[in-house]
Assembly symmetry: C2
Homo-oligomer: 132 residues x 2
Amino acid sequence: MSKVVSMSEAASIALHGVILIAREKEGLNVLKIAERTNTSKHHVAKVMQRLVKAGYLTSHRGPTGGFELRKKPEDINFLEIYEIIEGAIEIGKCPMDKQVCPFDKCIMNNVTSKMTREFKEYLREQTVNQYL
Amino acid sequence: MSKVVSMSEAASIALHGVILIAREKEGLNVLKIAERTNTSKHHVAKVMQRLVKAGYLTSHRGPTGGFELRKKPEDINFLEIYEIIEGAIEIGKCPMDKQVCPFDKCIMNNVTSKMTREFKEYLREQTVNQYL
DNA sequence: GTAATTTCGGTATTTAAATACGCAAATATA
DNA sequence: TATATTTGCGTATTTAAATACCGAAATTAC
């Protein structure tokens, strides 16, 4: 019923989208990415925009337009892509967003820090070329 | 800037509240719990209600009213309390909530499952008496 | 019995984040 | 140059979840 670790559709689109684009020599447009990720073209467009701005994709408008990778698949890891969308992942933040802990010692005892470190490590290890 | 693992204020109030009540022999009322957790009395009241219904607390109205633990502190672990508020923690759920994965193999490769398992284990190991 | 205090429980509001929309700008083709 | 196609970008809407409110009911003490 409840979930501890979640990922926004935006981050999902970004990661899947980059892989899909990498797989395609010709470039891929919004509509095709939307179809293949089973999401709305509006949302895909929004997300791709940000990857273009961040320098990971080049875009072309008009017929035959679409997106291409700007870097080699082996030089892009998931963490970079993820953080463009979500912002830098912070380790050691209070999971309840408390500025001041009401208790002497935190009851979550840094378990969330450990988990976050793991998540970050995983994302850093995955490169796009591993998913071609 | 971004956070991977988070906890609602409600779950935080539940866990901290139960510990605070356990520390007090006399019982504790909404207002005091709110003060000591630095949260609103409205929200505390709401959360405590649920713990009463779930059988973890007894409540008394009127002056000298408040809440008391119904079980021994060593017999209450964090997981039980957490799940009353958030619902059962599910392992193995797609972090993007996809019903059908658009890819042959999941790009998150069960890292989130592992993290969730860890989180659950941690909560299960913590009992209230460890925080008296 | 009255007044003060406190929880109960239904509902309302807020909020933040995510997602969707729609027009503008660019490009290709014919 | 006209038309079709596609991305760009600002904004609107949705949504779900969290949080706050408020009158009612219970209890205590004097």
